[in-house]
Amino acid sequence: MNLLAFINDKRVRDWFYQIAVVVLLVGLTVFFVRNASENMLKAGIASGFGFLWRTSGIEVPFVLTGYTQADNILALFWVGVANTMLVTVIAIVLATLLGFVVGIARLSSIWLVSAIAGAYIEFVRNIPLLFFVLFWYFGVIAALPAPRQSLSVFGVAFLNNRGLTIPLPDGMENLRIAGWIILACVLAYAAFHLWARKRQERTGLHAPTLRVGLVLLLAIPLLTLAWAVLATRWDVPALRGFNYRGGFVVIPEFVALLAALVTYTAGFIAEIVRGGIQSVSHGQIEAGSALGLRSGQVLRLVTIPQALRVMIPPLTNQYLNVLKNSSFGAAIAYPDVVSLFMGSALNNTGQAIEIIAMTLAVYLVIGLAVSALMNWYNARIALVTR
């Protein structure tokens, strides 16, 4: 009788099921790990991360760090991570700009503008990203003229079928100074904005935020940048024989991958922007103007904050997608972490498990950090039910 009550106790049953699942999982893991170690023993592969300090011997066509063939495999790993981050960050910035333009165009009152934006969105979203990567690489970049007939961008950068050649600064001194000045301006503006808002809440007085902003965020940075660019000596690429010398060559794989990521992701961001703006009910805007706000103020104080609340979670998701999708570069041999480390380094060393774990960890660490932030934000703004 006691036993029956024990078996039917919900808590006991819950624990029983959970222990059963854990035992099953542990059993499976042990089974797989034992097989793997047996198979590796047979193939003569040693496990462990010692291989990371071996000389890599792999040549990489696109290096941001000071890597050379003589460095170790760990250095190769960081080259891959840097290349992944580079294409991801630039693609996110450009895709956001293009996505906002297309998303707002979709809501335009001019029918043809909205129709073109709609056609773009429907076109891009229903075709695989890999298609765009291959198309840009083999269809567009490969069809560009040879170096001698390069397309010139204002005489300083040159686009041809071997990539984009851009000028490189001879010394970083002036640019670094300019960077610090601009950072100081941004911080000063943030402090001023905070002070102005506090004062307005206390006394109701308006501060000339717009004028100060124009000076601190636009005028001073632009002047500083102009000075820095003019004061620096630039190594402008010039045609010597069959190719350009000097400057920095952005490889065609990078250009193709970036173009594909930007055009593809912009279609998804545009839909998010449209949905966000449409989610703000018209009554909000009317109420704002009834309170005497000007149309710019309504946009800034009423529409955008509410639209952003809807837009930020899916937008973050898209940014994480760009990070993951940057690995599509492996299909055209762009040296990102997947193609460099999971491809070349794995082929050379055969350390499958360690290399796969490290590569996945790159994406998981960045992704989990961002998605933890997003879940926290989501929980904060979610409507609370019983």
Binding site: D14, Y17, Q18, V21, V22, L25, F32, V33, N35, A36, E38, N39, M40, K42, S109, I110, W111, L112, V113, I116, E122, F123, R125, N126, I127, P128, L129, L130, F131, L134, F135, F138, G139, A142, A143, L320, K324, N325, S326, S327, F328, A330, A331, V338, M342, G343, L346, A352, I353, I356, T359, L360, Y363, L364, G367, L368, S371, R386
Partner: protein
Amino acid sequence: MSGRASFSSLSLWRERLFGTPFTGFVTVVLLLAIGWVAVPLIRWALIDATWRGTTRADCAAGGACWVFIRARFGQFMYGLYPVDQRWRVDIAGIAFVLGIAAVVLAPQRLRLKLGLAMLVVLPPLGIWLLSGGFGLRYVETREWGGLMLTLFISIYASLIAIPLGILFALGRQSELRVIRLISVIFIEFWRGVPIIAVIFLASLLLPLIMPGGIDIDRLARAVIGLGFVIAAYMAEAVRGGLQALPKGQREAATALGLTYWKATGLIVLPQALRISLPAMTNEFIALIKNTTLVLVVSILDLLGIAQASLADPNWVGMNMEAYAFSGAIYWLICFALSRWSRSLESRRRL
């Protein structure tokens, strides 16, 4: 009557395109821009194009060489599948379409049973027809390819992904802490890594963790890898439906004395899945698009076979034709599915 209707639609168009001077100006500028792009495109694709012929030499008009697509059509559809065996692929496709049609057209009370029966019968039937055995000639998966392979991978990967996704979505909602933790780890892990890396991982690790001597087919590895990733995305789609369902539904079922699995199967899932269907369809579209990534382990689906066909020395410079044709097929499939998913959603909203 009809004259008046066309007049009013004409004035509607005039209003849309030239309502105000500014609108008219923008419309004219955009029309010029469209013409600037579209006229050469149409000349290339239709007017100057070559439709008839058999070899590269027949394409002298300067436009698109659709002869290339015609010559390669079989490969685009079936890959390197032996020509005299292609009827098996056709039969598998027809059986699949008829199976779905039968389930959709069946009376309500039979639909569930028929659906489950199809789920048990069709997948093994398809594998038997495609790979052979029991009286049919063996065709190795190395020879499969083209659109048929794209559809095969998408369908079989979702046969793994949907049940697994439902299980993990339920696990994430479970009140058992360990189960919930395991589900969250599974979902977030697979959602956090790039699919291309998972395909590499599956093709490298699956043979490694199996007991010696057991070899998993190359294509099966890719399908399993894709299935696991999409399962995590499906789980999130199903979670949306589970969360949208009022808590009272499960509470009422429990109050009636139903066990967890009965309440889930009879009350919760039928309603939740209906809500999740549009989101799940979107994940299926994503799966079709991501199937292209099997290219990295040299399995040639539709895009892969198009890419491979560019290397043919008899057909140099057919990049645009191959991309236009394969891109159009992907677009048609995905566009049709996304329209269907959207109509499901709007029907639910009403």
